[in-house]
């Protein structure tokens, strides 16, 4: 099966498998085992394309990849990047935490009770369909331009998607597992905590990931539409002085942080909550 290039094999086939194909085999073998290699290849392709596009250049306002990286390093060391993140993270973390707790709680209640569903589902379906970006400025009329308004913007984007996914997760629990729990005289609480929530976990987490992604959108909208602060301020400021490499560095960094957060969440889920997924 494996083209394991052992010395005997090479000899037997008269050196048909030379050094380069052995290397190719090794890389192929490594690639199937290590998913991370594909991630690296994918990123390298993206960054190369970016570098080329920047050098052509497709627009005078579009920096190359390397310029952006050096701008990012510069901001990281001149002490502008970290304080900006500290500001951006406040409404983000509070908003996402509130949305996660409230959203999963409400979603589970809606999944378990028809009355709660009739009462709440229409509200969240409308909220999810509404173009939230248009509503963010409205928040400032009521809550001003402070932390509360920005946190609300995060919640407005993150909450509906978390609620609706949690609700769907509970509704799609395997009915046969619930019957099984009933047949062994499990109480309603045992049914909820030992069957429904564990079985719903993958979809709950999918909702949480979508909610966090939406939360990042929310905080950026808030910082660009309400008042420029944090990363939003870095972006606005560098654009205003035509410092495009720095502006792109700020944008790229927030994308990277968002991606890493989601990957981290997935890791936590697989590592601690779905033991059967750890063994392939």
């Amino acid at each position: 099966m494996h083209m394991a290039a052992t010395p005997q094999k090479v000899g037997a086939t008269g050196g048909a498998t030379d050094g380069s194909s052995t290397l190719a085999d090794m890389i192929a073998d490594f690639a199937t085992r290590r998913k991370s290699l594909w991630v690296l290849v994918s990123l390298a392709t993206l960054f190369t394309a970016w570098e080329i596009a920047g050098r052509v250049p497709i627009s005078f306002a579009f920096p190359t990849f390397l310029e952006t990286v050096s701008a990012l390093l510069e901001m990281a060391f001149d002490g502008t990047l970290l304080p900006a993140y500290a500001i951006t993270f406040q409404p983000l973390v509070i908003g996402v935490a509130v949305s996660a707790v409230l959203g999963i709680g409400l979603g589970i209640v809606m999944g378990l009770s028809d009355k709660a569903e009739w009462l709440l589902a229409p509200v969240f379906i409308v909220l999810q369909a509404a173009p939230m970006a248009a509503l963010v400025p409205l928040v400032t009329f009521i809550y001003g331009i402070g932390l509360v308004a920005k946190t609300l913007a995060v919640i407005m984007l993150a909450l509906p998607v978390i609620v609706l996914n949690s609700y769907k997760a509970v509704r799609h629990v395997n009915p046969s597992l619930v019957d099984m729990c009933r047949s062994f005289q499990g109480s309603r609480l045992q049914q909820i905590f030992k069957i429904i929530i564990p079985d719903a976990t993958p979809v709950l987490f999918a909702g949480l990931r979508l909610g966090i992604a939406a939360g990042f959108i929310g905080v950026m909208l808030a910082e660009l539409l309400i008042t420029p602060t944090g990363i939003g301020d870095l972006i606005t400021y560098h654009r205003s002085i035509a410092n495009y490499a720095h502006m792109y560095a700020a944008v790229a960094s927030i994308i990277a942080v968002s991606t890493l957060t989601l990957a981290g969440l997935q890791y936590v889920e697989v590592r601690f909550l779905r033991p059967e997924k750890r063994r392939k």
């Binding site: 395997n174 046969s176 597992l177 019957d179 099984m180 729990c181 009933r182 047949s183 062994f184 005289q185 499990g186 109480s187 045992q190 030992k194 069957i195 564990p198 079985d199 976990t201 909550l273 779905r274 033991p275 059967e276 063994r279």
Partner: protein, 268 residues
């Protein structure tokens, strides 16, 4: 040949037995406009294996779930040990057609789950679970997850879980449907051994006539929708004979043929 196989065809109305553990009284079931079951009267004797056999959609699963207390009947009642039951109880355990194993739990935890729900301590319930895992031939798989097992092995986990709660009545819904023919025969023999060893009452749903005749003390034939009891057959098989001898016995084959003739009218 020492095997003596004869079939006694009992009159459905005259099935009063002395020691009935489960009594089904005038059970009817409607799902909206669909009448699934009508006027079912049955008694299941303690320590016997009874099979429910009938065309697809005739209400076998429904009847089994009504007896389990998982589905409410529209009319009639179920008595277990003489008492009317309205929901699941500790004297009955169900083996699900689709296994109903928790994918996030190991074989050990799945088998011990009925005991976990009853609040029995970890050490004790694991000890019981290990015993029944060995009984169904899955020793060494305690720490595996369901997706690492074959269909037949998963079904055994479901059977071990039902045994572990030490119920008097085991309700099995097509337990061997996920198993290929060779393994199916082996499972049937294993099941007979367990019946012998555990001395429990079994209610068993199957699609296979041969399987029904081979494993049952009593076979209940149901008619198509609405399901009614159309015939009760008691294949008195001498189980001391070797499996291969039984399967080639003329009496055994005659019972199979008789049931086939009974079901055939519905197949057309």
């Amino acid at each position: 040949m020492a095997t003596s196989i004869s079939a006694r065809v009992a009159n459905p109305a005259a099935t009063t037995t002395s020691d009935a553990i489960v009594e089904v009284r005038d059970i009817g079931k409607r799902y909206g406009d669909i009448e699934a079951l009508r006027g079912i009267n049955l008694e299941f004797e303690r320590g016997k294996l009874t099979t429910l056999l009938g065309p697809s959609g005739c209400g076998k699963t429904t009847l089994l779930k009504i007896i389990a207390g998982l589905v409410p009947a529209t009319s009639g009642d179920i008595r277990v040990n003489g008492k009317v039951v309205t929901g699941p109880g500790p004297e009955r355990a169900f083996v699900f057609q689709d296994f109903a194993l928790m994918p996030w739990a190991t074989v050990l935890r799945n088998v011990a789950f009925g005991l976990e729900l009853k609040g029995i301590g970890l050490a004790e319930r694991n000890r019981t679970a290990r015993h029944y895992i060995a009984e169904v031939g899955l020793s060494g798989f305690e720490e595996k997850y369901p997706h690492e097992l074959s269909g037949g092995m998963r079904q055994r986990v479901g059977i071990a879980r039902a045994f572990a709660v030490n119920a008097d009545v085991l309700l099995l819904d097509e337990p061997f449907s996920a198993v290929d023919e060779q393994n199916r025969r082996k499972f049937q023999e294993d099941l007979l051994m367990l019946v012998e060893k555990e001395r429990k009452t079994f209610l068993f749903v199957t699609h296979s006539i041969e399987e029904a005749v081979y494993v049952s003390d009593r076979i209940v034939l149901l008619s198509p929708r609405p399901g009614r009891v159309s015939q009760i057959i008691e294949p008195s098989i001498d189980r001391s004979a070797a499996p291969d001898v039984i399967r080639r016995d003329k009496g055994y084959l005659d019972v199979v043929e008789e049931i086939w003739q009974g079901l055939r009218q519905y197949a057309e």
